[in-house]
Symmetry: C2
């Protein structure tokens, strides 16, 4: 697939003689649509008798009826018309289905065009295959009811609503010759992410990117309510989409043949507009942000289905949402209605007696990779190419001795990312996403290589904005996440940096992506895609300036619930480790990689060589900070995360000064999942190694970046777990000093040192004195910061000296 923008072939316009579709073609399209609708109803209801060769009986009907009828015929209608456009203009097109509940429709279409049988040979294009096609739908060990990873041509499940337009734009970026048709249901349109996603047009460059063809499909109802956009006055609706920067076209109707003719016409106009926009930008050098076309299509909910059931209107109402005819065992007349409904599609005109779709109809579909069910963009792993990676070691910071230099870890990573950007500029396959935080997060080094995407007006005071920028910034975590998902799912690479606390905004989106990845791993024809890489920074311990609302390390808790084959969690103790982690993540596939690292100047502990070794192991003893000399320590001081590491090492200094004969082992954890048993996570270290590192019976004082419970949760099956005492964030925070954040949450050096002493049996008699010293230290700290507004000089200037 070329990422070089072509000049769209000038299609004949009506003015210069574009032929309208002939009545014959329209009739064939209607037949094609009827076939898809027939197969849809068949999937929802039938387990046998797929061609209605004998009168329908309960024995032919599934015992449990699961599926969503209401949205589906509209989706099928659109698919049929997209097929015509693809064939007529040789378009490269994929189809994002916002109302993913309409799964059977897309399965039907990919079956009709042959994609389905090529992906699943058992579902043959004959009567037996059709029976299996029907039966497998929503059937145990069959296929899901939604547009799912199992569905050819899909990159979007659509069960959770809100992200279709974002996925569509993500797919269109850097695919200049692709058109991404995107259906947004009027239910989905009410969600927050969908409501802002329309603004994606401000970030789509008509020269280098493809086009998105949004179709707002108003069928008027959700599960149980009318929809907002279907009921506001037409003029408001048009204003809204003009306001979003589109040129809205509208089409409303229910008579099939009229609708086919009008739909063909409006879709021709829309594709003409798209090509004209691309030509103006690519050939004529027009630099103004274009007003892309979009379609507002109004059809009946449950169009072509039962008009009335049990005396209540169904077609055109919310009652058509799921299964319009239910309780068939108790209502024999419903069996009759179902048969009439199925027969209304005149399936014998569509399929021959062997159940094969008639050739003259099959013939109007696109062929080969042009079929939307076979488009490689919807199986991104097929197009995936590794990034060209610079040597991350070249970006290493010098560390003559542990703690002897300071770096802003994310800035160091940012330089490396800038070089990654540079190396891959020609490939057009790498973008960096951030909700207005890239510079704040200090990974903006690559702005000089490629700026921030900006299509609208620029002012002289602006810097680094560019229509060809590859840093994507908008103040919406939803948009960053959705674009990135669409970009990855179509075979490219990306990196998302975010303030740690606010990544929760996309908790639900990452759930869906994790589910998608988990499922695709089991589908042989789906090829691995690039990992979803998060850098969380501006983290909980350094949100002393923004305060409590910006302090939340709980994304770790969220991710550990996901399948272990999907999730990787790294907490970088310093800059060189962060480089090693960053390089690893960008090379990986099919994972969700969570990287947590600070952006403030902080101690470098490890040389590049040491960092690589440490990150490869995932955790390890820091010999230079330990003095157990191969023997048993009195205490293991463990740490995970940059600030906890700093506090631990400061505590170790204090301890070794105050208790000269104390034996301390320092263990640092980079890869959090190493803590879990091997049986639970592939990165989990063997119990023996865990015992060797953390001992079987010595106290472990564990300073953790996040909520302490996570460490207990991961280690509760380890031998020594009763002796693991974890400090971490406990929801205490406000606007204060950095060190006071540690004190408020009892993860400060004084606390950790005291924790160690009180847990070491042979120091039992020194516990009280240690407590006394601890309270004095804390009091001194509190007095000083409340007096001076900044941390104690010995804390600010503390250096590792051992």
């Amino acid at each position: 697939m070329s990422t070089e923008a072509q000049v769209p072939v000038e299609s004949p316009t009506e003015a210069n003689g574009r032929p309208k579709p002939t009545p014959e073609l329209l009739q064939k399209m209607n037949a094609y649509w009827r076939a898809a609708n027939y197969l849809t109803v068949g999937q929802i209801y039938l387990k046998d008798n797929p061609l209605l060769e004998h009168p329908l009986t309960l024995a032919d009907i599934k015992p449990r009826l699961l599926g969503h009828w209401g949205t589906t015929t509209g989706l099928n209608f659109i698919y049929t018309h997209l097929n015509r456009l693809i064939v007529e203009r040789d378009l490269d097109m994929i189809y994002i289905i916002g109302p993913g509940h309409g799964g059977p429709g897309i399965v039907a279409h990919t079956y009709l065009e042959g994609s389905y049988s090529e992906s699943y040979p058992a579902i043959e294009q004959n009567k037996d295959g059709m029976k299996r096609l029907f039966r497998q739908f929503s059937w145990p060990y069959g296929i899901p009811s939604h547009v799912a990873p199992e569905t050819p041509g899909s990159i979007h499940e659509g069960g959770e609503l809100g992200y279709s337009v974002l996925h569509a734009y993500g797919a269109a970026f850097d695919n200049p010759n692709l058109i991404v048709a995107c259906i947004v249901g009027d239910g989905e349109a009410e969600t927050g992410p969908a409501a802002t996603s329309w603004h994606s047009n401000k970030f789509l460059n008509p020269v280098r990117d493809g086009a998105v063809l949004p179709i707002l499909h108003l069928n008027g109802y959700k599960i149980a309510n009318p929809t907002v956009l279907a009921r506001i006055p037409e003029e408001e609706l048009l204003d809204l989409f003009r306001g979003y920067g589109y040129e809205p076209f509208t089409l409303t109707g229910n008579d099939p043949m009229t609708m086919h003719a009008e739909m063909a016409e409006v879709m021709d106009t829309i594709v003409d507009r798209i090509h004209a926009i691309q030509k103006a930008a690519r050939v004529e050098g027009d630099t103004e942000r274009p007003r892309w076309p979009m379609l507002i299509l109004r059809t009946l909910k449950g169009w072509t289905g039962p008009k009335e059931v049990d005396g209540k209107p169904v077609e055109g109402t919310w009652r058509a949402h799921q299964v319009p005819l239910d309780g068939l065992a108790k209502n024999p007349e419903h069996v009759q209605l179902l048969e009439e409904w199925l027969k209304s599609y005149r399936h014998d005109e569509l399929f021959d007696e062997n159940g094969k779709f008639r050739a003259e109809l099959a013939d109007i579909a696109p062929k080969g990779r042009r079929r939307m069910g076979m488009n490689a963009h919807a199986n991104g792993g097929l197009l995936w190419q590794p990034l060209k990676m610079p040597r991350f070691q070249d970006f290493a910071v010098e560390v003559p001795h542990p703690g002897s230099s300071l770096s802003e870890a994310t800035r160091v990573l940012g330089k490396f990312l800038g070089e990654v950007m540079k190396c891959n500029l020609d490939s057009n396959n790498f973008r960096i996403f951030g909700p207005d935080e890239t510079a704040s997060n200090r990974i903006d080094d690559g702005y000089v290589v490629s700026g921030k995407t900006w299509l609208d007006k620029q002012l002289p005071v602006d810097v680094s904005l560019s229509p060809t920028g590859r840093y994507m910034e908008i103040l919406s975590e939803h948009m960053c996440q959705g674009w990135l998902e669409g970009y990855l799912l179509t075979g490219r690479h990306g990196f998302f940096s975010c303030y740690e606390a606010f990544i929760h905004i996309i908790d639900s989106m990452v759930n869906q992506h994790a589910k998608w990845l988990k499922t695709t791993r089991e589908i042989t024809w789906r090829k691995p895609i690039a990992s979803l890489n998060y850098l969380l920074t501006s983290h909980v311990w350094r949100q002393d300036h923004n305060g409590f609302s910006h302090q939340d390390p709980g994304f770790i808790n969220h991710l550990v619930t996901k399948k272990s084959e999907i999730v990787r969690i790294y907490l970088a103790p310093d800059a060189n480790c962060l480089l090693s982690i960053g390089d690893h993540c960008l090379r990986s596939r099919n994972y969700i990689n969570l990287i947590i690292a600070g952006k403030q100047p902080a101690e470098n502990w490890l040389t590049m060589e040491e960092a690589i070794k440490h990150c490869t192991a995932g955790l390890g003893k820091w010999e230079w900070a330990s003095n157990d000399n191969g023997g048993d320590p009195d205490v293991v001081m463990a740490c995970c995360g940059d600030v906890p590491t700093l506090e631990t090492l400061a505590a170790v200094t204090n301890l070794r000064e105050d208790y000269p004969d104390i034996k301390i082992r320092v263990v640092n954890v980079v890869d959090l999942m190493t803590l879990e048993p091997q049986s639970e996570h592939p990165h989990g270290i063997p119990d023996e190694d865990f015992n060797n590192l953390f001992t079987k019976n010595k106290p472990v004082i564990f300073a953790f970046h996040g909520y302490p419970m996570i460490v207990h949760q991961l280690t509760y099956r380890r031998t020594n777990h009763d002796n693991i005492h974890v400090r971490g964030y406990k929801e205490e925070g406000t606007t204060t000093t950095p060190f006071d954040m540690c004190v408020l949450n009892n993860i400060d050096r004084f606390q950790l040192a005291y924790d160690a002493i009180r847990r070491i049996p042979r120091f039992a008699d020194q516990k009280d004195a240690a407590y006394q010293r601890y309270t004095e230290q804390i009091q001194r700290h509190k007095l000083y910061v409340s007096e001076n507004g900044e941390d104690l000089p010995e804390v600010r200037d503390w250096k590792w000296t051992l």
Copy 2:
């Protein structure tokens, strides 16, 4: 505060002789604004010398400069103008600050109007008080940098962006005589929740509800980038807000006195419009959804601040976002610039030599409860009244024997909620929220009492829609959550039901609400508000029809990270328990109550009396299901959640049938936090009770609704924790049968029974046979469901018979 809608006093309009503000008043307003701006800069920079009585030196300046200047003067400008409107028209008004980073501005204003000193007497209205006011800001143990719970007049932190308009509408519902001014920054406007929140106007009834006065404040930049809405063509912007259904007014400018005059004029027009709309609806009976006014205000970012620093433009750019002058210790000329900047406000004209705000200026502010810092709506606990509660026992289902009847638990609760609705109709203080799922979740019984709020067009086919409905439905979890928060924070009551998986959409919002509650508990003048009540249903175990995307029980994991004094988590085993829990939650205050319960027909286990006892204890042994007869059991079969309870009881039946001498104790957990040690959560039961219930050394087979790790996490400090074996959801699911969902996740009855046998030492020799039986049972299940598409009859028809 009356919730009876008054006819707005007809204010004199320009046409009928409304006096424009006099030049003198405008001058005073400008002085008032300068005073707020002066106090803002003072808070960000100064720790001493508040009146600049001697030349500014580094000793007067805070060592760490934390705060956000850029948004603040705009906020201050608006506050000044709202004050004028309040005074002139005796308005009841509160102020929601989307850009909550502008904390010092609101602190300044509440200080000027006297609210601040009344709330915090140490911050007197004199020089000493001013010094303390300055020093405390962003100072350790002082006040946060944002508009926070500590800020008088606020119900909105604004640190996490996106929810201001939602909070504003939530506050306006059922407060017919209130105007909620709401500032939305152009950064916030890019977020998803904000983008859909504008549609809230379709749910605001001008007769019974108050008004929201949205001000989109375009200062052009975020932290580091221009904003989308500030750069799109004006016509697009106006179309957008017309499309959202508003009448947009605009005001742009930078010259203070011109801006004051124009702002006064446009605000007068807007309030006239609001009153005209209310009058039309309340007096003339106009039923058409009105086109409410809103203002688009363009001012410079960092308006009145330094124009240029170190040769780079600052005012009007993103560089004004935080602290425009930084590094003062290293840049003596910056100290000079700061002094000039402060002096540009001519503070000596504003404050007397004692630091007291001059009376002729103070005089133009509202008085008493009309001050926005003292409006009771912004301290909702002051207005809170308990709900009138029907006897929940009257809704009990009959349970002659455990498991002898079936109920849809949420439908039973729904009837009770409907009665709650009925009892409180006259109080106008209770609403039920749901993202188009209320009927699906089966709590729609109260539709007959009060319908679903709908202001737009209705069609004959619609049911239960009403402009006076109290069921709020829109397909946006963000909107439901935001409205509800605003409603609760202003002293009312609510209930939010949601599909379990999709509540993650508002993970981040609940974080912020939890933080707000935690903080308010420590503020004496803040009074407790009603709890935030969630009913999660359509839960993971019964999403066999929608499939994998709809299966996620992780909201529990999210909530347990919050402060234990805030969070309550209840899993109802049956309908009567759900009633008892629901009643309890609706009466509680200052909590976040999470209730999880099924909606499908399921066994009733407990009589009402038993249910009350069980729910009050939070967990307990079910004697009728146990046969350990006061002695030691072989195994404890524990369960939490309705489906796990069913599977456990089915397993118990099998076990007692297959192993007649087995001694089993059944423990059911309703209140999840009882599992945690008392030291960690107030609901945690004492260790001794835990030991008595779960034994000290017997195997515990624990069937849990959610991710198994949660149970380990909560119990890891309990004596017997090594013997607790938890089954729960492990991210295995698809569209299948209900029982197969259990099998896929190994929480089915066959697995639980086998788990018990293999863990009981005295059955060691029967382990292999048990495993054999288990695998046969699973095989039989798989064969049957794949053949028949529904569960084994003995599973479907299983009844508790012991």
